[in-house]
Every structure is written in structure tokens, then in C-alpha cells.
Symmetry: C2
Subunit: 335 residues, 2 copies
């Protein structure tokens, strides 16, 4: 059922059947280290280059998901997937062996929210029984794509974030499970004119604030409706801006907002500056942490909002700003 | 209703309400020149660089669609859109002003098929009344992204194709209209190991053959079921491979197959070698030519298959192949 301007509450329920998450060594050493399905110490994941390494991450996550669910590959109707690399090469090369129809998505670091939203629309509309939503990122392929060669050893300002090496995948289904996707709120492209590619938090915070406000208005609720409102990768700088922007609109999220980028690393001891980022940041935190806390009833209602900075070296070098976007997914623990 | 392994026939019908298409001068001088909504002589479209020019194309197509339909912007629930550039910058910067939720898609030159498929799933499932599906490409931004600087003046082999400068947009709706999207067949990633970035037709033909075969099997039909089977941008080289591959499977498409890349240019007089390509190739040919021939009942049933070559300079320079994909849309003229 369409609600307000940007939201849907699904008439026919959509559930999260199973998850899989793979991360690199640094993520394994972080606060959530014990909760990931697989931690791989080799940053190349046995591959010849960073892009292949990221494809391998997608493959490992998909394999793990298939083995955990025992759903035969032929019964997975679609994969909704994406990554940060130009022309989604991590996704194309990582998923081609599965012989499953693929919808390639680009929402920058919000891709996991976009994938879950479109997967949920597809299942709720009766167009599939099982679909997989997934997203990956790799620190080294992202640095090569967006910033500097690793060998250059650039300094990292305090506002910068550390791209998470990992891949998170969820299987969505029409069959009843403990956690449902109750609805979605889909983001617009929001541009506050920020031009600092080393401050992604500031680029994305306005889009997150816009999304959260739209969700509240569409559902006629406020911040107290949710046990947790969890953004993707704003980091400490973006979180502060988000809370300020929402306070101006009359909402106080200081007690129930969390950010995956803040949770995934121990910023002080792991030198990740403002926090973690990348498509995988929200995707693996969802799988390893958020859904576990929902299954064990610590939280019953969560607004999960992967956030994305629509950064490209081409547009950046042509003097453009970095617009933000966000894709909200309303998660609910069944009674 | 789910059909076979890769197809859906929609229970609740989805219709094409209106279209808009903008092209550059070369396309305007081609065989379909008189049928486009707008032909712009300035290749920069009044912008400062090629990427901005492509964003401007998206903006012009959207503006034209809004003015033709008179549907207020607030009633468009989602835009499904994409382009060929890294991180979809043509799309992000072209569509940000509209204040409409955007799903960013990447299916290389198959993006129009992907956008229409996801838009149709969304409308059929009752999650929207009006959505826009659109895709763009620009010859110069694509050459810069994938091949050589224009100033270098590289030679073009006979197998090469010419990226169409244009943007096509369709508004999809649940309200009855002359042409419906009866169903979709969604493509897998198909890799025959072709490594020639100057022969996209050969990279994509296996994916198109796979898609067409899947469609026939899923719907339990053969080539005679359709008045036309129209691929996106195989060009003359890819078309020949497609017909050969399908002949091996027992299908003869020689009399009812068409390719947008062959239709859009006069290859001999416009020096476009094997034909046209790019996301816009199938998108603008759909709007300017295919749907017009369906409205006037020349064709009643068309399988429209935008085809995509999952090419990236990074994967290409790392020695990888160019996998293909394709997204099929089943179009039907209402009685």
C-alpha cells in the first residue's frame, strides 16, 4: 500500500529468510568481529587484483548464503546487486557463474537499501518467491577508484571514512520468518553542494535527514516509533550533522540513532577516522549485528537507512558537488 | 504470474502512457530523424563538458515527458534510470532537480530494458501508479569513458559501433493505454569469453540468444509468436551471430528480427560501421519508432530486448572478457 509521497507499506508481507556476510581482516578485528560469517585475512582473497578480490567477496557471500539456506540455486528468481566500481565490475564478474537473472543497481553506499527495496517490491507483488539482495565494497578497489593509489600513502583527514572490505547478502522470501520488511521509503537525490570527497558524511547527512523526515510524515509517526534508526555510513561527522538537521525539524534522534559506520570499527584504535563506509558497511552490519538483535528481540522495529554519496572522480574533477541519496527499509520483528 | 525460469506475465496490466526522446544531430540525420521529439545540433547541449551534456539530455527528456503527459511531477512515484558512465553521473546530476525518488540502475546498454522491467514489476504489484523508465548515452562521454580521447582520432574497425547520443524516457501506468507491457524476461550474465572492446556485438549476441531462448521456453512459444523481435544494439556483426546461435537451437529469426543499432543509422552513408549502440540506442528507437508502429497496428506483439556489454576499462585492461546481458520486455497492442 502506497503511503504518502515516498513510502510503501507492503500489503503482502516480505521476510528476511537468511543472511551471509564476509569481511576482511580489519573488519574482523573490529567490535563486530565475532559476528561475521567469514573473516578472510588475505586482502586479495586469493585473486590477482583488487577488483577480482571484490568479485570474489560477492561470490563467497553468495556461496555462503546458498549453503546456509539450502535453497537450490534454481529457486532464486533474481539477484539485486551492486558495488561502487565503474560499470559494477565486482558484481558482473562475481555473480556470472550462478546462472540467475541479475538486476544491476547503483546507489553508491546506499545500494543495499536499494537492493532490498526492489527485492521486497518484487516479492510483495507476487513476481518472485525468493530473491537475493546484496552489495559489496573493498577498501583497496575503492581507494583506487575514487582517491589515490595505496602506494602513495596519502594522509587521511579526520572527516574521512574507511571503506569496509566485505559483502553482505540477504535472501528475501514470501514465507513467514522472524523479521519482516514491513515497508520502504525511497530516497531522492539531495544536493547541499558539499564538494569535499574526504567528507562523505557531510555529503550524505542531508539525504538521510530528508529520508527520515519523509518516512515520519508518510507513516505519520515520529522518532519514538522506532527502537533504532540506523544509517549506513555517516560516521561521527555525518551523524552530528544529521542530528542537527533533524533537531531543526523538531525530531530528537540522539538516543535511538545508530550508524553502521560508527559501529563497525573502533575508530580510535583502528585509525579509521570518522568511521566506516562503502556499500558493505551497512550490508554486513545488517547481517552480523542488526538482524541478530532483532531476532533476539532486543529491537522490534528498526528503520534501516543505507546512505550513499554519489561521488565520481570525473564529476569531482569537473568541479561538481557530491550529491547524496538514501534508501530506507522498515524492519519489524514478528510477534 | 511467474512463468518458467526467467519470465513474468503480469496479472495486473502495465501500460505505456507516453514517451519522450531527445537525440543529437547525427541521429537526427539518420533514417529515424523525423520521428524524434527533439533533435539538438549542439553536441554539448549548452553544457561545459560531455558528462554535463549527457545530464542535460536526461533533463530534456524528462521535461519533454512531463509536458507531453501533463502528469504533475508529484504524481510520479519513482524514476528508474541509468547511463553508461562510472557511478551513473549523467543520471544523478540530470535528475536531481525533480525531487522524485530515484532507483539508479546499471545494465550497460540494456538499461532501458532493466528500467522498464523494474518499473513494470512495481506498477503491477500495486506499489505505484506512474513511474518513469529512462536511459541515456552520449557518443563523446562514452568514447572518453571506454575508449580514446576524441582528439586522438582513432581508427574504427568494421566491427565497432557508434554510441547513440540521446535519451529515451517512457511513462508507465496502471491506466489502460494502447500498448501494454504484457511481461518481462530478465537476463543472466552470459560470458562467451570475447575480449574485443571494439566488437560489442559479438560480446552481446550470446546473451541475446540466451534471453530469446528463455523467453520462448518460458512462454511455450516460438519466433512466430512475435511480429517483431527487436534487440538493442547488436549491429550487423552481432545480428549475424545471434541468428546463427538461434538457428542452432532450431529457431529462424531471419524474417522478423530487427536491431535498433541497425535501424537508427544509415551505416554506409553515416560511417557508423556495424551500427549504433549505447543505452540510448534502444531507448530512443523504442520511443520514436517501435511504439509508433505498435500504436498504428503495424505490429501487435513485439519482444523488445535491450542488450548490454558489461565493459569497463579497468576489467578490460586487467585482461578480462566482456560479458553480456539482456533484458526482455514483451509489448502488446491492445485490441
Amino acid at each position: 500500500m502506497v503511503k504518502g509521497k515516498q513510502s510503501i507499506l507492503f500489503d503482502k508481507a516480505v521476510y528476511i529468510e537468511e543472511t551471509a556476510c564476509i569481511v576482511g581482516q580489519k573488519e574482523g578485528e573490529g567490535p563486530l568481529g565475532g559476528s561475521f560469517d567469514i573473516v578472510v585475512e588475505d586482502p586479495m582473497f586469493g585473486s590477482k587484483n583488487w577488483e577480482e578480490a571484490e568479485s570474489r567477496l560477492q561470490e563467497m557471500a553468495m556461496d555462503k548464503l546458498l549453503s546456509k539456506t539450502q535453497v537450490p540455486r534454481e529457486q532464486i528468481r533474481y539477484i539485486f546487486a551492486g558495488d561502487l566500481l565503474g560499470q559494477l565490475i565486482a558484481t558482473s564478474f562475481g555473480l556470472k557463474k550462478y546462472d540467475i537473472p541479475v538486476f544491476g543497481l547503483y546507489g553508491a553506499c546506499s545500494t543495499m537499501g536499494e537492493a532490498m527495496s526492489l527485492g521486497a517490491i518484487t516479492i510483495s507483488g507476487g513476481c518472485a518467491d525468493n530473491v537475493v539482495a546484496m552489495a559489496s565494497s573493498h577498501f583497496a578497489s575503492a581507494e583506487k577508484q575514487f582517491r589515490f593509489p595505496l602506494e602513495y600513502g596519502n594522509q587521511r583527514p579526520e572527516t574521512s571514512t574507511w571503506t569496509v572490505t566485505g559483502c553482505g547478502a540477504v535472501m528475501l522470501t514470501a514465507q513467514s520468518q522472524p523479521v519482516s520488511i514491513k515497508g520502504i521509503t525511497t530516497g531522492k537525490i539531495v544536493d547541499f553542494g558539499v564538494k569535499d570527497s574526504m567528507n562523505m558524511g557531510a555529503c550524505m547527512a542531508p539525504a538521510a535527514a530528508d529520508l527520515i523526515t519523509a518516512n515520519f510524515k508518510d507513516l505519520e509517526v515520529d522518532e519514538k516509533y522506532y527502537d533504532r534508526i540506523i544509517t549506513g555510513d555517516l560516521g561521527v561527522v555525518g551523524r552530528k550533522i544529521l542530528l542537527d538537521l533533524l533537531r531543526e525539524k523538531g525530531y530528537d534522534l540522539s538516543s535511538n540513532h545508530m550508524d553502521c559506520g560508527i559501529e563497525i570499527f573502533d575508530a580510535k584504535n583502528q585509525d579509521t577516522k570518522a568511521g566506516g563506509s562503502g556499500c558493505a558497511c551497512s550490508a554486513v552490519t545488517l547481517c552480523a549485528y542488526i538482524l541478530k538483535n532483532m531476532k533476539n528481540r532486543k529491537w522490534n522495529r528498526v528503520l534501516f537507512i543505507p546512505t550513499g554519496a554519489l561521488l565520481s572522480t570525473v564529476s569531482y574533477n569537473e568541479g561538481k558537488s557530491v550529491p547524496g541519496t538514501a534508501h530506507g527499509v522498515i524492519l519489524e520483528r514478528q510477534a
